[in-house]
C-alpha cells in the first residue's frame, strides 16, 4: 500500500495552521471480546500466541489475559503431521517450542488451522505458510540533509519477489533489536511493489527497500554503532489487507492530513466462532521469514560516505 498521508502532511504543514484538542467521546458499553493474536513464522525457535480481552476505550488498565483450555495448530495439508500444541507459559501467553533448537514451525506450502478452546467457546482460523525469498544483501547509504530530513545513514535491503502473481509480504524493521512498531511503519508489499500491478518477480522497489528506517523528527536513520535487522515475511493476501487496515485505522497524524484521512472502521479479522457465545477479534497468519542484519561500524559508515561521493 502506498502511504499517502505523509505526502500531504509534508506539503501542507508549512502552509497552514490548524488546531487540535482532545475530547471525550461517549463510547458504548459493549461486551468485550476474546482477542487472538496469532502471528506465527518459521524462524527457528519458539512461537507465541497471545490471548487477551478487548477493553473499554477509556480504560487504561492492562489487557485482561485469557486462560484458554486448549490452543493448537493443525496441518490441514498433511493431517498425519502432529499438531503444534501451544502451552500457556504465563497468563494468556501460549508457546510452542520445537524439539530441537534448530527446529521451526511448519512446512512451506501447507495450510494450517488454528484451534482455540475456551470453555464452551471454540474459535478457528486458517492460514497458508507461503514461501519467502532470501534477502540478498543489506547496506547503509549516506544521505545528505535534504528537505525535511537531516544528514543520516539509511539502511536499505535487497530482495527479489518470488515469481508468480499475488505474493504478499510484510517488511519489519528493527533498530538495535527494537521493532519499529508504530503504525506509520507498517510496510506491506504486493509482488515486490505496492499493490497488485502487472509486474512480477522484480527487485523490491526503492521506497520499500528503505522502509526500515526511523523517520521521527528527532530520530532519523541510523548512527555509527547502531544495528539494523530486517525481517521479510510471506503473508496471505488477507493478512496483507489486514495490516493495511491497521495502518489506515491507527496511523493518524492529525493536522491537515485529516482532510484526506479515511473514516475509521473496524478491522476485518479472520478468526471464526465455531461454538459458544463469546465474540472474537484478532488474526491468525503463518509466515516464512528471511532475516538480515548489519551493524553500522565505522568502516561500514566510511564505505557509505565514499559511495555517496
Amino acid at each position: 500500500m502506498i502511504r499517502i498521508n505523509p505526502i500531504f502532511t509534508f506539503l501542507l504543514l508549512t502552509l497552514f495552521f490548524s488546531c487540535e484538542q482532545t475530547l471525550t467521546v461517549d463510547t458504548e458499553n459493549i461486551a468485550s471480546s476474546v482477542v487472538i493474536d496469532a502471528f506465527i513464522d518459521n524462524h527457528p525457535g519458539r512461537q507465541t500466541i497471545n490471548i487477551t480481552r478487548s477493553r473499554r476505550f477509556y480504560d487504561n488498565a492492562g489487557f485482561e489475559r485469557v486462560s484458554a483450555d486448549a490452543v493448537y495448530i493443525e496441518d490441514l495439508t498433511d493431517p498425519a503431521q502432529p499438531d503444534y500444541i501451544f502451552v500457556e507459559t504465563s497468563s494468556g501467553v501460549y508457546e510452542w517450542t520445537p524439539a530441537s533448537s534448530a527446529g521451526s514451525f511448519g512446512m512451506v506450502g501447507h495450510d494450517y488451522q488454528l484451534v482455540v478452546i475456551d470453555g464452551d467457546s471454540e474459535f478457528r482460523s486458517i492460514s497458508t505458510l507461503n514461501p519467502v525469498p532470501v534477502i540478498d544483501s543489506i547496506r547503509f547509504n549516506f544521505e545528505e540533509e535534504s528537505g525535511f530530513f537531516d544528514e543520516r545513514f539509511e539502511a536499505e535491503f535487497f530482495a527479489t519477489d518470488l515469481s508468480g502473481f499475488g505474493n504478499t509480504y510484510w517488511i519489519k524493521g528493527f533498530k538495535n533489536g527494537i521493532f519499529l512498531d508504530k503504525p506509520e511503519y507498517i510496510t506491506t508489499s504486493y509482488d515486490g511493489g505496492f499493490s497488485a500491478s502487472n509486474e512480477d518477480g522484480i527487485l523490491f522497489i526503492p521506497p520499500l527497500r528503505t522502509s526500515i528506517n526511523p523517520f521521527e523528527e528527532d530520530e532519523q536513520g541510523y548512527d555509527t554503532g547502531d544495528n539494523v535487522r530486517v525481517e521479510l515475511l510471506s503473508i496471505t493476501e488477507d493478512t496483507f489487507l489486514y495490516l493495511n487496515e491497521i495502518f489506515t485505522q491507527t496511523s493518524r497524524q492529525g493536522g491537515i492530513s485529516e482532510i484526506f484521512s479515511v473514516p475509521v472502521t473496524n478491522l476485518n479479522g479472520n478468526i471464526e466462532v465455531l461454538s459458544g457465545n463469546q465474540s472474537v477479534l484478532g488474526f491468525f497468519c503463518t509466515s516464512s521469514v528471511s532475516i538480515a542484519k548489519l551493524t553500522l561500524t565505522e568502516a561500514v559508515a566510511q564505505q557509505a560516505i565514499e559511495r555517496a561521493n
Binding site: K182, T248, F260
Partner: protein
C-alpha cells in the same frame, strides 16, 4: 446484450435524424419570427437569461446561454420589452409583417455603488419559469461575499444556497442533495472538469475574473445534461469585451491575478485572458522556509476568443490550463486540469439555433520520489476525454421550444503509468489503460399548455461501452463487504466492446402558476452516471481515480422527485421558495472497511475493493431573498438526510452518509454603508457530520487497535457555525464607468470558533517498543479569526 444495444443505437440515430428534419415543416404563413441577440452595451457580452417580452400577448422568451432569443407570433403591431436584472429595460415598438431581427444592447442600471435594482418583469422569472431547484449566482454577487483569505471562490459561494453543502473547511468539491462530490458534473464552457481544486481543496480552479455566469442544477435537470447523477454546475466564461480593451486584477493573500480582454475587431472579434498565480513562494524562499530548488505554487490560465462571422455564425474557442506544483528534494507532486472547447453557433433559420461543440478535457497528476536517478520512483495518472456535442433549439411557436441534440464522448483512463528505477534498472509497474465511449441523444420540449401551466418534458437516452483493448476480470465475491477474488481473466482486443449499458433518462418539470406572484413547481429526473470518482477519504484528494463502469461496476443511477412553492412579494422585492425532494440511488459506490487511497493506486483491478450500495436522501429547502435596497441578501435553510445501505457493512442496515448534515442554515447579507463603503456578512450553521465511534481497544501484532459495535457513522462531530465579515472600500475617485480601485478587508471565522473537521483517534508519541495510548482528538482547520486584505483594480 451487445446486439440489442447496437440495435438501440441505430434506432436512436433514426430518431435523431427525424428530429433534425422536423424543423423543415413550415407552420402557418401568417406568423413571423422576431429573433436576435441581447448583449451588454458596455462590453458586448451576451446576456444569458434576459427576458424578451411581447407585452400585448404577455409572453415571450428568455435568451439562451449565447444570448439568443427567438419568438414567433402572428403578424401585428407589438411592443417588445427587453429586460435583464441590473440593466435598463428597453422597449421597441414593432410592426411585424415579416421575420425581423432585433439585436439589443442593454445599458447597466446606474445606481449607487452597484446596488442591485430589480426590474419587475425580469425578476419574476423564478415564479414563471419551469426551472426549479436552481442555484444561480451572478459573479458580481459572488465577488461581494466575504471569502477565505480574500479569494473569491465560485464553488464556496455556491454553498450558501439551500441543498448545497461540504464536509468541512478546505474540502474539495461540494455535495448536492445527498449526492457525493463525484456525482456532480462540473462544466467549464461545456468541458468537464475532473478536479475542481487548488491546494487540495482550499480554492477552486475557476478564476472569478473569467467567469460570466454559473448555474447549479440541483434538480429538474434538463435533458441536455447527463453523465452525473447529483447535479450539474454549468459555468460559462466571459467572451471578452468587444468594445474596448480593459484590464483587471488584484492581489490577495494567496493569488496575484491579472486579466486582459478586448476587441480584436470591434464588435466582431474579442478575447479574454485571465491568469492567477499563488505568490507565497516568493516570500518563503527568502525567508528560508523553502530551499531555492523547492517549488511550491499553483496557477491557472483561462482564455477565450470569439469571432462573429455574420448574423448567423459565430465561433468560440476557450480553454483552461491550471496546475498545482509541489517540488522538494526527493519528492514531488503536481496536478492539474486542461480543457479546450471549440464552439460554432449556427443559426440555421430564424427559429432554429444550433451549436456544435468539440471538447477536450484532461486531468492528470504526477508523483516522484527519490533524489538519485538510479533509484527513484515516478508515476502519473490521467483521464482524458474528447467529446463532440451537437445541440439545437427550435423555437416552434410562442408555446413550444424544442431542444434536441446529442453527445459522443471518448474516454481514456490511465490509472497509473509508474516506473521504479532500482539500481539503474527500470521496473515498469504501470496499470493497463482503460477505454470507454459514451453517447447520448436527447429531446426536450418546453411547452405552455395553457396560460397557467407550463411543462418541460423530455428524454435522454444514454449508452456507454467499456472497450478494449484490455482485460476483463471475472470476480468472485465469497464474503460481501470484503475484497473480491479474481476467478478468471478474459483478454479483449482494441475497440472490442467488453460491456455495454443503456439507460433511458426521462426528465419532466411543470410550473402551475397560482397567480402573478406565486406558483407551484414539480419535477422528476432520472439520471445515469457511467464514470465514477473513487474517493475513500473524508474529502476528495487530487489522487482520486476516475474509473469507468465495467463488467464488475454498474452505472450509478438516480431518481429525483422535487416539489416546490415559489412566491414573490412587494413587486418582486422579495423572493421566497420552498422545496421538498426525495432521491434514490442505485449502485452508489461504497468501500470495504479499512480501504485507503493507497490501496487503490497502482492497482490493476480496483473493482475488487468497490462495493455497490443503495442510497436514499430526502430534504426540505427554504430560500428567502431580498433583491434590492441598501440592505439585501438571502437566507437559506436545508433539512435533509442522506443514507447508504451496503451489503456486508453495518449489519446490512442503512447508515448515514459521510456528508449527511441534518440542518444547514446560511445567511448572506450585504449593506451599503455609504457610496464608497459596503459591508457584507456570511453566517453558516451546519449540523455535525457523522463519524464511527470506537468503543474498545485491543492489541494485535504489537499494535493497539480499535473496535466499534459494527455500526457505521453512529455518532456526530460537533455542530459547525461561523461568521465572516468583509468591508469593501471603493478607492476610485474618477467617474468613468467600468473602472475600479478597491480594497477588501475581511475576517473569516470572526468569533474564532474551533469548528470540528473530524474527530479522530491518535496514539501517544510513545517510543518504539512502548505501548501506545490512544485518545480522541478534534481537528479544526481554521480555529481562529483569520483576517485578510486584498486589493482589486480595473481600468
Amino acid at each position: 446484450m451487445i446486439d440489442n444495444n447496437l440495435n438501440a443505437i441505430t434506432k436512436l440515430k433514426e430518431l435523431f435524424l427525424l428530429l433534425a428534419v422536423v424543423p423543415s415543416f413550415t407552420f402557418a404563413q401568417d406568423k413571423f419570427t422576431i429573433n436576435g441577440y441581447v448583449k451588454d452595451a458596455s462590453n458586448g457580452e451576451s446576456l444569458i437569461g434576459a427576458t424578451v417580452l411581447i407585452k400585448e400577448i404577455g409572453t415571450g422568451n428568455v435568451t439562451n446561454v449565447y444570448g439568443f432569443y427567438s419568438i414567433t407570433v402572428p403578424a401585428g403591431n407589438y411592443t417588445v420589452e427587453i429586460s435583464y436584472l441590473g440593466f435598463q429595460t428597453q422597449t421597441r415598438e414593432i410592426s411585424l409583417t415579416g421575420n425581423i431581427r432585433i439585436d439589443i444592447e442593454l445599458g447597466e442600471e446606474q445606481t449607487a455603488l452597484q446596488e442591485v435594482v430589480v426590474t419587475a418583469e425580469a425578476a419574476d422569472k423564478n415564479v414563471t419559469s419551469t426551472e426549479m431547484s436552481i442555484a444561480e449566482l451572478d459573479i458580481k454577487t459572488a465577488v461581494k461575499m466575504p471569502a477565505f483569505m480574500g479569494e473569491v471562490d465560485v464553488i464556496k459561494s455556491l454553498q450558501s444556497f439551500p441543498g448545497v453543502s461540504t464536509v468541512g473547511e478546505g474540502a474539495s468539491g461540494f455535495n448536492v442533495r445527498g449526492g457525493s462530490v463525484g456525482q456532480n458534473l462540473l462544466l467549464l464552457d461545456e468541458a468537464p472538469v475532473y478536479q475542481s481544486s487548488h491546494l487540495f481543496g482550499f480554492f477552486s480552479v475557476f478564476n472569478p475574473d473569467a467567469v460570466k455566469d454559473m448555474k447549479l442544477y440541483k434538480g429538474g435537470i434538463p435533458a441536455q445534461y447527463g453523465g452525473r447523477i447529483s447535479s450539474v454546475l454549468d459555468i460559462r466564461m466571459k467572451e471578452g469585451d468587444s468594445k474596448k480593451m480593459n484590464y483587471e486584477g488584484g492581489v490577495g493573500l494567496i493569488f496575484g491575478r491579472f486579466a486582459v480582454q478586448g476587441p480584436i475587431i470591434k464588435d466582431r472579434t474579442s478575447f479574454i485572458a485571465a491568469g492567477r498565480r499563488s505568490w507565497a513562494d516568493f516570500l518563503l524562499k527568502p525567508a528560508n522556509v523553502l530551499n531555492n530548488s523547492d517549488q511550491v505554487y499553483f496557477y491557472d490560465l483561462t482564455m477565450k476568443a470569439n469571432h462573429t462571422f455574420n448574423d448567423r455564425n459565430r465561433l468560440f474557442l476557450s480553454g483552461y490550463w491550471g496546475r498545482d506544483i509541489f517540488q522538494f528534494e526527493g519528492a514531488g507532486f503536481n496536478w492539474g486540469n486542461r480543457t479546450g472547447t471549440l464552439r460554432w453557433n449556427h443559426l440555421v433559420n430564424d427559429r432554429l439555433f444550433t451549436n456544435f461543440s468539440l471538447i477536450y478535457s484532461k486531468y492528470d497528476y504526477e508523483l516522484a520520489f527519490g533524489e538519485e536517478v538510479d533509484n527513484s520512483f515516478n508515476w502519473d495518472s490521467e483521464i482524458t476525454t474528447v467529446e463532440f456535442k451537437p445541440q439545437a433549439s427550435y423555437f416552434i411557436n410562442i408555446s413550444n421550444e424544442l431542444k434536441f441534440g446529442g453527445r459522443l464522448t471518448y474516454y481514456e483512463f490511465e490509472p497509473a503509468n509508474a516506473v521504479g528505477i532500482s539500481e539503474g534498472e527500470p521496473i515498469d509497474l504501470s496499470v493497463a489503460k482503460r477505454y470507454a465511449a459514451e453517447g447520448a441523444v436527447y429531446i426536450n420540449n418546453n411547452q405552455k399548455i395553457f396560460d397557467r401551466l407550463r411543462l418541460t418534458y423530455g428524454i435522454r437516452l444514454s449508452v456507454f461501452n467499456f472497450l478494449g483493448s484490455g482485460n476483463a476480470y471475472v470476480l468472485e465475491d465469497p464474503a460481501p463487504g470484503r475484497r473480491k477474488q479474481i476467478a478468471d481473466t478474459v483478454s479483449y482486443g482494441s475497440g472490442e466492446v467488453i460491456e455495454s449499458f443503456i439507460t433511458p433518462e426521462p426528465r419532466i418539470s411543470f410550473n402551475y402558476q397560482l397567480n402573478n406572484t406565486s406558483s407551484i413547481k414539480g419535477s422528476y429526473n432520472r439520471m445515469a452516471q457511467y464514470i465514477h470518482l473513487v474517493s475513500v477519504t473524508t474529502a476528495p484528494t487530487p489522487l482520486d481515480l476516475w474509473v469507468p463502469s465495467t463488467n464488475n461496476l454498474s452505472p450509478e443511477k438516480s431518481h429525483l422527485y422535487s416539489l416546490g412553492y415559489f412566491r414573490n412579494l412587494s413587486n418582486n422585492k422579495y423572493e421566497l421558495s420552498g422545496e421538498v425532494w426525495f432521491r434514490t440511488i442505485s449502485n452508489q459506490l461504497d468501500y470495504r472497511n479499512g480501504l485507503s487511497t493507497g490501496d487503490l493506486l497502482i492497482n490493476e483491478v480496483v473493482e475488487r475493493d468497490l462495493l455497490s450500495a443503495k442510497g436514499r436522501a430526502y430534504g426540505l429547502e427554504f430560500y428567502a431573498k431580498k433583491n434590492s435596497g441598501r440592505l439585501n441578501g438571502w437566507i437559506s435553510y436545508t433539512l435533509s438526510r442522506a443514507e447508504i445501505n451496503t451489503e456486508g457493512l453495518n449489519n446490512n442496515e442503512w447508515y448515514p452518509a459521510n456528508h449527511d448534515q441534518m440542518h444547514n442554515l446560511k445567511i448572506a447579507g450585504f449593506y451599503d454603508l455609504s457610496k464608497k463603503v459596503r459591508l457584507s456578512a456570511n453566517f453558516a450553521f451546519i449540523s455535525g457530520r457523522p463519524f464511527t465511534v470506537m468503543n474498545e481497544t485491543y492489541e494485535i501484532a504489537g499494535y493497539t487497535v480499535y473496535n466499534g459495535d459494527r455500526s457505521r457513522n453512529n455518532d456526530r462531530i460537533a455542530n459547525y457555525h461561523r461568521l465572516d465579515l468583509s468591508m469593501t472600500i471603493d478607492l476610485y475617485k474618477g467617474n468613468k464607468p467600468g473602472r475600479e480601485n478597491s480594497l477588501v478587508l475581511s475576517v473569516y471565522n470572526v468569533y474564532g470558533r474551533q469548528n470540528a473537521f473530524s474527530n479522530f483517534i491518535n496514539q501517544s508519541d510513545a517510543n518504539f517498543g512502548e505501548a501506545a495510548i490512544p485518545e480522541y482528538n478534534q481537528f479544526s482547520v481554521i480555529g481562529f479569526p483569520f483576517p485578510s486584505i486584498s486589493y482589486n483594480f480595473k481600468f
